[in-house]
């Protein structure tokens, strides 16, 4: 390590770069293929890595526009991709804001307000949350089926129902935020209390502004989690116009209606924005993951 001969070092470097480049070639293969496929003609044609007659047909359809082929036939978009994307983003934003409200308020209480059974309640919530929601889908279906009789807004095929399920996944975030609040000096809330602030005012005017960076991390995590969710949305959403991207995209690769090229364009269109959000946020996300791990 400290004493290395230059020749050995050079060989090692070549090996390291070689390994990484070969590995990356395998990793990047699907991305490159999808880009190529999105410009190919038709949905079945087997083509070269570089499409021979590149066409924008699939891209027109992904954006929800009709495409006129050179021979005059008009191709209509098979699925409302932009609408699905909007649904996904809407659900993600609603889930993110809802979880933020619930988790910041709860975390503040668990960190600062003394009440009986506080530790037991937190442990209880933690144990409950160990059972993944995706395993209780049958019950969720039954619950929203019944609630739909009260109001269709709370029933099957309503976005609000799905969002409410996402809201219930708050315990981990309460835990993270509680750890963050625990680290804030108690002199701060004492000062606020002396100035006559109620606990709510202390929370809103002192703690909330301090927690903004952490809240941003949680928001992105919930947002991405909601957009990636398949099981809950696939059970609770029914009509084509209400689907999210995750549920809707699956329709493209149906055995009976196989739209490989259309899917490729739609996948890139919908995947790029989410990927960019993730790459911007990942530096903070990773440190958050590490924190959670170390705190235990």
């Amino acid at each position: 390590m400290i004493v290395e001969r230059p020749r050995d070092l050079r060989i090692k470097k070549v090996f390291a770069h070689g390994f990484l480049i070969v590995f990356l070639a395998f990793i990047m293969f699907p991305f490159l293929m999808v880009i190529s496929i999105s410009f190919r003609e038709g949905n079945f044609t087997i083509g070269d890595i570089l499409p021979r007659n590149p066409t924008l047909e699939h891209w027109y359809l992904a954006f929800g526009l009709d495409y006129v082929r050179p021979d005059g036939t008009v191709i209509e978009p098979p699925y409302p991709v932009m609408l699905w994307m909007w649904n996904s983003i809407k659900l993600g934003l609603m889930a993110g804001f809802g979880v933020l409200v619930i988790s910041t308020v709860s975390a503040y209480a668990f960190s600062r307000i003394k009440f009986r059974g506080r530790a037991a309640l937190l442990d209880g919530l933690f144990i409950i949350q160990m059972f993944p929601t995706t395993l209780a889908l049958i019950a969720l279906y039954a619950i929203f089926d019944s609630l739909g009789e009260v109001s269709p807004f709370l029933g099957i095929d309503s976005h609000l129902s799905v969002v409410m399920v996402y809201w219930s996944g708050v315990v981990l975030h309460i835990w993270t935020l509680k750890g963050y609040f625990d680290g804030i000096d108690t002199a701060l809330d004492k000062a606020a209390a002396i100035d006559g602030a109620t606990p709510w005012q202390t929370f809103r005017l002192v703690f909330l502004p301090l927690a903004v960076p952490m809240m941003a991390v949680i928001f992105v995590l919930v947002f991405i989690g909601a957009i990636n969710d398949y099981p809950v949305a696939s059970v609770l959403l029914r009509s084509e116009d209400n689907l999210t991207l995750a549920v809707g995209s699956r329709l493209y690769l149906n055995e009976f209606k196989y739209l490989w090229g259309d899917f490729a364009a739609a996948a890139i269109l919908s995947g790029v924005p989410i990927t960019i959000v993730f790459l911007i946020a990942q530096k903070y996300l990773v440190s958050g993951l590490g924190d959670g791990a170390v705190k235990g």
Binding site: K13, P30, L135, G196
Partner: protein, 511 residues
């Protein structure tokens, strides 16, 4: 940093506004609870009633000020995590399925509302147009004419009286256009018989098929057959033993578990699926950990240049939404026009059947899952590797230890303890990783000779999903019972994880 004291407003919030909002929300919740009770969902009604009452108390009375902060979180977890878990377990002890879908009250009212046309009262009709958007119904056979009706589609009733044939009768095809209005119309004859639209050209009285007799039984009016409700099976049974649909769901005790353990058509595939679930989760963790750690070690090497660009590119599979990557792989692996088979055929002349051969399908799932999961492990490994003191490695190198010996004797033992809880968490995640299975293979290829749909690549979670929401099967009860078994397994894993985390913390603290 100090709190800006003068920024804290001292004004009291308007009490009446807050109380009005609280009262409104509480009333809404109580109304919903009452409605749920009316449609025979007492469990959900009680849950909402509890939430409503607690909400009203906590937000209206100063005494419960502290509880206001935790109520939303606790309520959300209780309603949408705890209640569904409890309800799923309860469903496991019922025969809730597409055959026994309703509650008893619903099933009964479905039967009671069934009716058949009384042929003796059936007669032709015609519609007379009064010209001002109103119509009259003319029954030529009995020379009866109704009062004016709008036929707008809303439920209407009208008396019919003896009269002479009105002028301006509509042609039959114009009358058919008013069908939705006609179907909502009930005519009352002077004899007290109610007539309804019974066909395109006829009105007749509808006779209910069943009437209730003593002991909760129903009698079929046409032939006097008596239906007895059987609350152990959730069906009405006729005298001669015929089952009358629709059924309702009833508690059937341990029957579902009995089926799981004693019915070979369920037990055999389930054992196979359980083994595959464990293999899948273990192999996924092992593969992602190995690949991630190897990349982490290479990327941590001080002489490597271009780390930043490698890092970003290597993270990409983690950054792309997983449902998109999984579907992309589904297309790439396609046997007939997938690009992977295209390349394999060009290079080696083989065309593996990724979706129809069980072992190849499983290999494919593991390949895809490794691709999806290694960046997470790599990021964690890079973090933990930074924590290993350089002195230890240098000391070992000075003693003449080879690089691999340093890694296995010094580095790995130091990063493994903190890694352990995360590996177990990853195992638990993959144990229930149904998104991957549902989007990539849907569990296919199917195992032959099973009584419920079961696939070679199904894991327990996707297996229950298919039993409950599959195309051919909606056996909620059976799925609930299997879910309870999964809950037990998840509890064990969670406990192990908990212990591992405690140990990890202790070790760190001891250092």
């Amino acid at each position: 940093m100090s709190a800006p004291a003068d920024a804290i407003p001292q004004t009291e919030q308007p009490q009446y506004l807050r109380l009005a909002i609280v009262a409104l929300v509480t009333l809404g919740l109580l109304y919903a609870a009452f409605h749920l009770y009316l449609i025979a969902q007492p469990l959900f009604a009680v849950a909402l009633l509890t939430v409503g009452v607690l909400f009203g108390l906590i937000y209206s009375r100063q005494k419960y000020y502290n509880a206001r902060f935790i109520f939303p979180g606790v309520a959300a977890v209780m309603l949408f995590v705890a209640l569904p878990i409890g309800y799923t377990i309860w469903i496991g002890f019922t025969n809730y399925s597409s055959f026994n879908l309703l509650t008893f009250e619903r099933a009964k009212s479905v039967l009671m509302s069934r009716g058949s046309v009384d042929k003796s009262t059936e007669q032709a009709f015609a519609v007379a147009d009064l010209g001002d958007g109103r119509f009259q119904i003319w029954l030529p056979d009995s020379s009866l004419l109704s009062g004016p009706v709008t036929l707008s589609g809303d439920i209407e009733e009208a008396e019919v009286e003896p009269a002479t044939e009105p002028p301006a009768l509509l042609a039959a095809k114009d009358a058919i256009k008013l069908r939705s209005g006609l179907q909502a119309l009930t005519l009352h004859t002077p004899d007290g018989i109610a007539l309804q639209n019974s066909g395109l050209r006829t009105f007749a009285s509808l006779m209910p098929d069943y009437r209730e007799i003593e002991g909760g039984r129903l009698e079929r009016i046409a032939d006097g057959v008596v239906l007895t409700p059987d609350h152990t099976q959730g069906f009405y049974f006729a005298d001669h033993g015929e089952k009358i649909a629709p059924g309702w769901h009833v508690n059937i005790g341990w029957d579902n578990f009995d089926r799981i353990f004693n019915n070979a058509g369920i037990r055999e595939p389930m054992i196979g699926i359980f083994i595959w679930t464990v293999v899948f989760a273990t192999a996924s963790v092992a593969l992602t950990f190995t690949v991630g750690l190897a990349l982490g070690v290479v990327l941590q090497w001080e002489h490597l240049r271009g780390k930043a660009i490698y890092r970003i590119l290597l993270i990409l599979p983690y950054a792309v939404p997983s449902f998109i990557s999984i579907l992309v792989f589904r297309g790439l692996f396609n046997q007939n026009f997938g690009e992977i088979n295209l390349i394999l055929e060009a290079l080696f002349g083989v065309r593996p059947e990724w979706f129809t051969d069980a072992n190849l399908a499983r290999t494919m799932i593991l390949i895809v899952n490794t691709w999806l999961g290694y960046p997470y492990m790599m990021l964690l490994a890079m973090g933990f590797l930074q924590g290993v003191p350089q002195d230890h490695k240098k000391a070992a190198a000075l003693e003449g230890a080879s690089a691999s010996r340093v890694f296995f004797k010094i580095t790995l033992p130091q990063i493994l303890p903190p890694f352990m809880p995360l590996l177990i968490a990853s195992f638990a995640f993959n144990f229930n990783n149904m998104v991957l299975v549902l989007l990539l293979t849907r569990g296919l290829p199917d195992i032959v000779g099973t009584t419920v749909p079961a696939g070679q690549t199904d894991i327990l979670a996707s297996f229950t999903y298919r039993i409950a929401f599959g195309f051919s099967s909606t056996e909620f009860g059976l799925a609930g019972a299997i879910t309870l078994l999964i809950f037990v397994l998840v509890s064990v894993i969670s406990y192990v994880n908990f212990v591992a985390m405690r140990r990890g913390t202790q070790k760190r603290n001891a250092r």
